[in-house]
Subunit: 350 residues, 2 copies
DNA sequence: GGTAGCACTCCTTGCGCTGGAGTGCTAGGA
DNA sequence: TCCTAGCACTCCAGCGCAAGGAGTGCTACC
């Protein structure tokens, strides 16, 4: 995409488009030719601007809500603005430090840390922020422990590189001694050391169980524990700041808000919005229709990956009105993602 | 409270009040004297009803939005209605079965089960539902396991009567052998068996550590594990269905909605709304000002406890417009609470 | 004590008007 | 050829006003 947008725009048109988007983002009012010449020193008359704007509209970058109104950017207009026209922003030193401080005060427990991050970003961005949780699939195996409760029940605990991923209660049909569980746990710990969770096969487990001559029951317990560690049932996404959206004029229509609240509760849809950015491990901006969701046509999402070691393990996103300060929000998301990534190293179990 | 409300109301006034509340809940429009005589066979003229309504207003049960409008119940009117006038409802057999089915399909893991319950109740009630999580303080100790990761790090797992309450990573300043952790775990398991978490003192732990001649480091690890088990950092409340509130005409004013969304995100405030009902272990209805929250004056909350064994361990609540179908929502909440209580026995670790 | 009748109040809705912001077009100038 | 000044036109937002209607309180009567 990058760079393709301005091909058919001369410098003046590009500047006018950028100014219209900028002004519209700032005020929320359709931008007229006079505003443009008066507020920004263009050195040309409003009539000229009008001609240019008419052409920009014909080319699909601007839209007129009604005949006697100013112009408003179209999806394409925003897209060009984001890709080619806007100046990237940087966070102030103070802001950067505040993010750092807040996240360093947050819990070292992964889930809590993600929750805090989403709340922080919601507050800073004044929009709806959401953060996908690292999928345990990509974590490394560290330790498994079968805990004996009674001769026929126990709990399986799996510790991964990012903390305790799951616990699962199991019931057996034959009696088992505490020692059996310990021996099996030890054997598995050796055998599975440093595997990625996704790479652990059932045959690894079966082999360990067979070697120690233990029951299939126990094997199933281990398989279940590992499976539940991989497909953690916890919500996939932490979201915060929905109430910020209420300030935006685009929500005078309550139905829009309703669908958004529903989407936030239905974690899946929220996750899907950023799934491809996640796959690409790249920052991404999606504007209006690009979200492929009828209910979200006048919203946009800014997404930035955060890393654990060399890999992107999750995304940090801001959902807000299409008329959002893109550069600012990208800076915020990036800064927060960076700090979160650092923090994850602290969380890591080595 | 019960029974005090109708002292100063003769039967006819009581019936008129009940009808006004009923009709207002159904339609959302202020109720006039004609509506009352026409829709409900009162056997008296509208003029008489007007006189009665004027007296009910003077007595504080009704309110007139403006001179030429019908009447609307005041907080006191709703209170009397709820305490003395309304007919309790029961769930249909089918509804009861549906609740049972849905909760039986839900996860056996405590947090998940509470989440599912709040979503179910939100959906059924068409309002905002929230469910407080059992506070681990009241759970019984079942098992502790210190898991050796390296000679100076480990994870402490505490299993309680309602599942795995917490895990906490610890770091030691002196080297420890896996066997030390096992021996300490075993000693603690014997010593703490069946204690309530709240009853476990640091001296119990110190004694076990001393007996085995282990380091203070390890003692601290255990203390931390138990403390984090008790004050679980997980959100206190699961909430669902906020979007349902948007349908209510009382939310044409967006500021109200804003504060509610904020309150839902700030779990604490939500919890405080039902804290006293929780302490009393009794169902409760709070109407308007009774919520002691300026932003919630035209809302009400219906709350019902759910049990684990003999004790109420949490509350199941519905937050909606003051103009809510109280009897219906109480029936829904009670039915759901009952089923949830049953399910908790399944979750229990014996 | 209950009721019919009536004047009165006040909200809601719809309508037309006006002011203003912004446009597109045309004609003239650099 | 490109830019600009001028102008007629469009359309929305806001306002005031009138009509309609629901509901009341009061009075007089049964």
């Amino acid at each position: 995409m990058k760079g393709t947008g301005t091909g058919d725009l001369d410098q003046r048109k590009a500047y006018i488009l950028a100014t219209v988007v900028y002004e519209y983002i700032a005020t929320g009012e359709p931008v007229g030719s006079q505003t443009l010449t008066q507020k920004y020193g263009l050195g040309i008359s409003s009539a000229t601007v009008r001609n240019e704007m008419a052409e920009l509209e014909a080319a699909g970058y601007l839209v007129q809500p009604h005949t006697s109104a100013g112009r408003v950017p179209s999806d394409a207009g925003y897209r060009t603005f984001v890709d080619d026209l806007m100046a990237p922003e940087k966070l102030l030193f103070d802001e950067r430090r505040r993010i750092r401080d807040e996240l360093h005060d947050a819990s070292r427990e992964l889930d809590e840390l993600i929750d805090s991050t989403s709340r922080l970003l919601g507050r800073l961005s004044n929009n709806l922020a959401f953060v996908t949780r690292p999928q345990p699939d990509s974590h490394e195996f560290r330790h498994i422990q079968l805990i004996w409760l009674t001769s026929r029940t126990g709990v399986g605990i799996v510790v991964t590189s990012l903390g305790v991923a799951a616990q699962s209660l199991f019931e057996l049909t034959t009696d088992v001694k505490p020692d059996d569980m310990t021996r099996l746990s030890n054997a598995l710990n050796v055998r599975l050391a440093n595997h990625r969770l996704a790479d652990i096969g059932e045959d690894d487990i079966a082999a360990a169980v067979a070697e120690l001559q233990l029951s299939d029951d126990l094997r199933n317990a281990v398989v279940t524990a590992l499976r539940s560690a991989r497909s953690d049932e916890a919500p996939m996404v932490a979201a915060a700041g929905a109430q910020n959206l209420l300030d935006q004029p685009e929500f005078r229509d309550l139905r829009k808000l309703r669908s958004i609240l529903r989407i936030v509760e239905e974690q899946k849809t929220l996750y899907d919005l950023v799934a491809d950015a996640m796959a690409a491990e790249q920052p991404s901006v999606k504007i209006g229709h690009e979200l492929q969701h009828d209910e979200l046509v006048d919203l946009s999402v800014v997404t930035v990956p955060y890393r654990f070691g060399p890999h992107a393990v999750g995304m940090l996103s801001i959902l807000g009105p299409r008329r959002m300060p893109y550069a600012r929000l990208m800076a915020l998301a990036s800064g927060t993602a960076e700090t979160l990534s650092e923090r994850l190293s602290d969380v890591e179990i080595k």
